[in-house]
Symmetry: C2
Subunit: 596 residues, 2 copies
């Protein structure tokens, strides 16, 4: 049976010493937060994940969701109780506005919970996660009446939400959407079409499901400029908030998937289903895109979350499993064999995973903080800067954290040998669950293209300039710090490669856009290494401070060692990425399609 | 529904132009082989895989194997018919000695079939593959009477074979084996113990199952020097070859696994089961190790096989799926969108997979040829050299081809976006099936350790010297060839890194063996890139020759482009591996175990 303990101390270290929340007391919701309150929230959140989510993770994977002949969907045993514990704890509304029943706390804390819930039970965590995404979209785009009607029950978790974008013939290219909406003359619309891959599309956890659906009005222009956003409830919602008739939206099938079996991924059929328009007509895609940063960050977190829980189990196993002897002589001569953690190759895998996990967690919180600043600061300069940084970094986090998170699950599974391949130990589930994060919310190749094709050139390159200046100043301000020097050298080299790669795109990709496309994936990963390296220097600096104060010395040594390992082993790959980028597209694109 | 077409033309190119079988006419079984015969065999083998194996691959994954309450195991629908077609075609005995009913053909051809069968249906292919492994062990170690009794029905496929090594508490460290054997005084032994992860341990495809079991005699010394090899048939075999009573060996359970669901991976219980000793007492591990090169090569082939079938399906999808427009303007303006193969990042993934697959196939046949030379040459110098090279390269192939094969399946799956995650398209099965190849027959970390700790220092480093000389001479002989120059430069740089890394181990690992352990995995992958690069130069040379003759020009261009891509994108990673190796073990090993 796999285990999970939420990394509470690690989160508190980050929120107190590395990215102190108290430095942002001017932001709405941050001011009243004492360190004790932060700790209480994080510990309580950890508890609900450990006590309710994790125990039904493996069984939920085995049972999966069942669609009954009448179209109802039954979630695995224990999911309802766990979801209820979570929603009754008020976790769905942790950072939602108090006006709608939320607690108004920093969204950064919400993302902490995102990690814990996804580590403990990724499939289950998605029901709440999608609901948060849906009410966030409504908060930004719905009318005051719509907000008042739909948002409070969603924040309470009595109703859940979904996003309906994908159709059989289109995922990335939403301009091809065929689902139609016809105005009924009474302010409502009849929606008809088929949506696929709809997570949490139908289930038995909530009284109602609020579907946000992209569809095309009859007179809409072609392509992406003719897509509108509709709200289609499973049960019609009367003006007093009571539930009315069952709407004509049904689950046609549950997809058979590689993983996240506990989440009902549905084919949703809309047959003249009644809905209302959210925001302006033909501006639906923009409405969806606005909340994309948060949603993508949520998926990035799933990459870390699976890597973290896989690491925890692999570390336990590596210390317990006896097999072979250390190269340097028996470490446990009284036992039939040494624990496998004595073997360098086991150690290598554990170090690789852990030196990623801790930096990834920091980077997520760093990015989440930019989001909080962007949404809550009163200072337009700060908002612009935070928006720039989050817009730039989010595709990097989505692509890199899910790629490396998956790779780490595979490594952690490898530590178990044959036991990693059988279901009993739970490791293969982490691999299967983690795999989807590289695909949904924009496949990672799309993240790379978003980064290079959209985020880099946007506003004349303002965001990347801001980021490079930020890192440059960060390094400069620490150059006299002898203890940080080796780490700074590693970071500096990585940043140098990032600058070179950026310049290369600027001078080559305009004449030949395929050069940008061909190097985009490497650029995203190069960027990710630099950002993770940046976090390691920040964490090492904080660890040195705590070390000087004599606090938790073994833990600080671990941090400093992981930082050194990251710079020694992970960071040098930036050079390889640069080499790939500067090879350009010529050979890659030279074959005709029919040669494949 | 996934598709598969065996790469017959590619195999014929290799066996005719790159590694011509006719150059080895002096070897037993090679002399009579005309090009027409080779082609006929390969085409016929392809046919049985395409017609019988592939159609039941996805359904076999869905159904899995069922253990009935009485312990019998039922394989998925269609497996028996497919297996029968295969065994009746004589494929199990393709390269087995004619004296026992085999066809005596090169084992290299047998490994070609290994790829085809594993691409078409990996789970099904293992029943035959394990049988071949088992009778190969008997051919080397059994007495003449035992050979006559057991081998012919196995070559015929009427009986299958298994390998019973792993126990719940030991996999890699076989010195810990607890299964006991007691002499019964009549030349037979009573075997008692539990074995786990036994592939094809029980099933309904054959009349009898011959289990090869490692166990410990009552008076055996401790550790690996006290392990003997026993043959335990499911049904006792009378001296006339007829089947006697049911033996006390039963399937206690079928493991629930991530993949290869069509293969019955069994917990096998031996309860005073009757067996016979194979070879000398206490020399069982040596007997198992002798055939390990072939078995590991078989697993390496599975890595390529899954990568190949995943590639084929991804290439088809990339040409058919319409989504988005090319960065350079619409390529299919008459259609709603362009096929996704126009996007550089899709192209990148296809190029990465294919430039691996073709080189991996060549390397497998190169390694298999060394095996044929080692077993069939009359010249002791040739035998020693081939043994050295195969011993050195096989762990490289096992580790690298299964790692990269799995990564490629993940890439191919990624090309499908969300459709890659659902079972319908079959891509996620390739990923799940491919995953086991990194683990069994010695986890890849063990391969790396075997390479660095055993194969490098063996005989004073004779094998690695032979290999480096071989590559050095290969490069030197071609240095005046202008057309090959860019490829040779890439290979030369890779070889340089391999030499440096080898020297680094020689000068650092003796004083500190953990340095070798810490760098072993990188060394294995560095070695793999050099070996694959070597194959690309050989293939490019052959392609240039055919190009000059005007033969199949588009195909030669493809080969030359893939070779260039490999040198541009894959080979430079050797520098990163070298950097990792020379960072040594200090930081990696510095934390105490309880810091994890």
């Amino acid at each position: 049976m796999p285990r999970y303990q939420a990394p509470v101390d690690e989160v508190l270290f980050l929120l107190t010493h590395v990215l102190p929340l108290k430095d942002h007391a001017d932001l709405q919701g941050f001011g009243d937060l004492s360190p004790d309150m932060i700790e209480a929230i994080v510990r309580e959140g950890a508890q609900v994940c450990e006590d309710f989510f994790q125990p039904v993770n493996a069984s939920g994977d085995r049972q999966g969701c069942q669609r009954l002949p009448d179209g109802r969907v039954v979630t695995p045993e224990g999911f309802k109780a766990a979801y209820d514990a979570y929603r009754k704890g008020g976790w769905l509304g942790l950072s939602a506005p108090e006006a709608y029943g939320g607690q108004g706390l920093p969204n950064t804390l919400n993302h902490v919970m995102g990690e814990f819930t996804a580590s403990a039970n990724m499939a289950l965590s998605m029901y709440g996660g999608l609901t948060q995404g849906a009410f966030a979209a409504l908060l930004q785009h719905a009318s005051p009446e719509q907000k008042a009607l739909y948002i409070p029950p969603m924040i309470e978790g009595r109703w859940t939400g979904t996003m309906n974008l994908t159709e059989p013939h289109c995922g990335t290219d939403l301009g091809l959407i065929k689902t139609r909406a016809t105005a009924l003359g009474d302010g409502t619309y009849a929606i008809t079409g088929q949506k696929i891959f709809i997570s949490a599309g139908e289930h038995d956890l909530a009284d109602n499901i609020i579907h946000l659906v992209l569809a095309r009005l009859s007179d809409a222009p072609e392509g992406t400029r003719g897509i509108s956003l509709f709200l289609v409830p499973k049960f019609w919602v009367n003006v007093d908030g009571s539930l009315g008739e069952r709407n004509h939206v049904t689950c046609g099938a549950i997809e058979h998937k590689m993983g996240i079996h506990g989440n009902a991924t549905c084919v949703m059929n809309y047959d003249q289903a009644k809905g209302v328009l959210i925001g302006e007509a033909n501006r639906g895609l923009q409405a969806m895109f606005v909340m994309m940063n948060e949603a993508r960050l949520g998926v990035a977190i799933q990459g870390l979350a699976q890597s973290e829980v896989a690491y925890q189990n692999a570390a336990i196993y590596a210390k317990e499993r006896l097999q072979g002897r250390a190269l340097t002589g028996a470490s446990a001569p009284d036992k039939p064999a040494d624990p496998i953690i004595v073997h360098p190759d086991i150690r290598r895998m554990l170090m690789e995973i852990r030196s990623f996990n801790e930096a990834a967690r920091a980077l997520i919180l760093w990015d989440a903080l930019q989001g909080d600043i962007a949404h809550r600061s009163q200072d337009p300069k700060s908002v612009e800067r935070a928006n720039d940084l989050q817009g730039l970094l989010t595709p990097v986090l989505k692509g890199v954290l899910t790629d490396l998170g998956f790779e780490n699950c595979v490594k952690a599974q490898q530590i178990f040998g044959g036991h990693g391949y059988v279901s009993e130990w739970g490791m293969e589930q982490f691999v299967r669950d983690a795999r989807i994060a590289m695909i949904y919310e924009g496949a990672n190749g799309i993240q790379a293209l978003d980064l290079v094709g959209r985020k880099l050139p946007k506003d004349g390159g303002r965001a990347i300039r801001t980021y490079l200046e930020l890192i440059g100043r960060f390094i400069q301000e620490r150059e006299s710090n002898e203890a940080l020097k080796p780490l700074l050298m590693g970071l500096k080299q990585g940043v140098g490669h990032l600058q070179e790669a950026t310049l290369w795109f600027m001078s080559h990709a305009i004449a030949k856009p395929t050069h940008a496309g061909a190097g985009a994936y490497d650029y995203m990963h190069l960027f990710g290494l630099v950002s993770l390296g940046h976090m390691w220097v920040m964490m090492a600096e904080a660890a040195l401070g705590l070390q000087a104060q004599g606090e938790d010395l073994q833990r600080q040594t671990t941090r400093l060692t992981l930082a050194a390992y990251f710079m020694e082993r992970a960071m040098p790959k930036t050079g390889l990425h640069l080499k790939h980028i500067t090879s350009g597209a010529d050979i890659m694109m030279s074959l005709p399609a029919d040669s494949f």
